[in-house]
Amino acid sequence: MPIRTEPVTVNIGPQHPSTHGVFRLRVTFDGEVVQDLEPVFGYLHRGSEKLAEERTYSQVVTLTDRLDYVASMSNNLAYVRSVEKLAGVRPPDRAMYLRVISAELQRIASHLVATGFLLQDLGAFGTPLMYCFRERERILDLFEMLCGARVTFSYMRVGGVFQDAPGEFWIALDKFLGDMPHYIDEYEQLLSGNEILLTRTKDVGVLTSETAMDCSITGPVLRASGVDWDLRKVDPYEIYDRIDFDVPLGTVGDNYDRYLMRIEEMRQSLRIVSECVKQISSGPVKADVPWLVRPPVGDAYDHVEGPKGELGFYLVSDGGIAPYRCKIRSPSLINLTAVKDMLVGGKLSDMIVTMGSIDINMGEVDR
């Protein structure tokens, strides 16, 4: 009698250690091989865009903290830049430097989380994650000096930042900039040449540059596929045009490239922060903007290169004190478009690793 086989449909999540939040994949397996899958999400949907319509422009900053909760500074930056574009406000120089310093530190913190959890998903339980969190802790300490909060910062304001950095911040930042390159060397020494990591990530979850562009993928995932597109370079905002840095590029677009991309971006972010520390001059940190901002009737879209990709806000003003519409272009959601291309045909265990290497954040996917 022939043995009968049939595909099995399995739910991975919504509560699974590697889903990084509440996220579900409905996967059809043929044995161990992924035949078909569908991402299911929305468990963390809070209606941020609708809530923004009921709040003043300044109050919405607190909502943006809760989008990608491991990169709140970048969310703050993207939002206040959109409001500034809408209202025609230009922040003072010192404020822009402070914003770039905090956004780049935030990028390092976010990439540390991504790298740590990727290794966790690979089966390296605990150690790499704790290493990454050790450094992230230093960055959170820095942010605490800036604004008093460690996760939900709300540091940025329309027209500048909440307050100037205190003296102790600069001392601690200097020390951090001295220490961090050695820490990154340490990860690379431990991980980048590690045979287990190489076999598990090389040529796994490949995303071609054509598919990546067609699917509107942005951020390190796009650059790992070899597309040279970094908003900080191609469309410089704030003071990025005054700073010299490189954009790392991948070649294959596999999990290993995405891992290396984040490591290299951390080094470049350090370079940007040290350059900013050199260039920053004294002056005011907030333009003269009233607490109740009333932008003229119209619409504006502005974007920043967040740690996960292009984060943009499309704001429509009806002349009132609250946005008429606040649409969030969230990179995590749109980066999920190509997930099927990357996972179908692979094994179950590779699927977990690939999901880790895309680095999605459910707060941002569901909003």
Binding site: T211, M213, D214, V316, K327, I334
Partner: protein, 150 residues
């Protein structure tokens, strides 16, 4: 710096190929009649001069009388961007052509608009709710949506 194409340049290029496809333009925005949207998007992507190979975002705004859909697109090759807007009339069952076959990046974004704004995209391969569950009453991002009593 990403160059923002002016509405005038865009309309001159598009109207040359597709007659009557531009309603009006202002600044960097061009308004397209909803019936022409798919054709214009396809042209914007395939035309070598415009070359819009990357869809940035689709946003929907509820203006009560009509819904406005805003397509932000850019060209990675030429490093320029443009904005296409279209009006979608009717509140009962507003419908517009899907652009998933032009850019796959529209897939999840159109599903999100269908879910939260209640606009149907024809020829979308998998149009169903994305953030809310099937059977959820209403579309929360509409201006006339009221939270159901608890």
């Amino acid at each position: 710096m990403t160059v923002s194409l002016t509405g005038e340049d865009v309309q001159a290029r598009v109207v040359g190929a597709i007659q009557g496809s531009i309603e009006s333009w202002n600044g960097s925005d061009v308004w397209v009649p909803s019936g022409f949207l798919h054709e214009v998007c396809k042209f914007a992507k395939e035309d070598p001069e415009l070359g819009m190979d990357f869809l940035v975002a689709i946003s929907a705004v509820d203006y009560i009388e009509y819904f406005e859909l805003v397509y932000h697109m850019q060209s990675i090759v030429h490093n320029h961007k443009m904005i296409v807007k279209t009006k979608c009339w009717g509140r009962e069952n507003p419908t517009i052509a899907s652009v998933v076959d032009v850019w796959r990046g529209a897939d999840l974004q159109e599903r999100e608009i269908y879910d939260l704004m209640g606009i149907t995209f024809t020829d979308h391969p998998n149009l169903k709710r994305i953030l809310l569950w099937e059977g959820f009453p209403g579309h929360p991002h509409r201006k006339d949506y009221l939270e159901p009593p608890r």
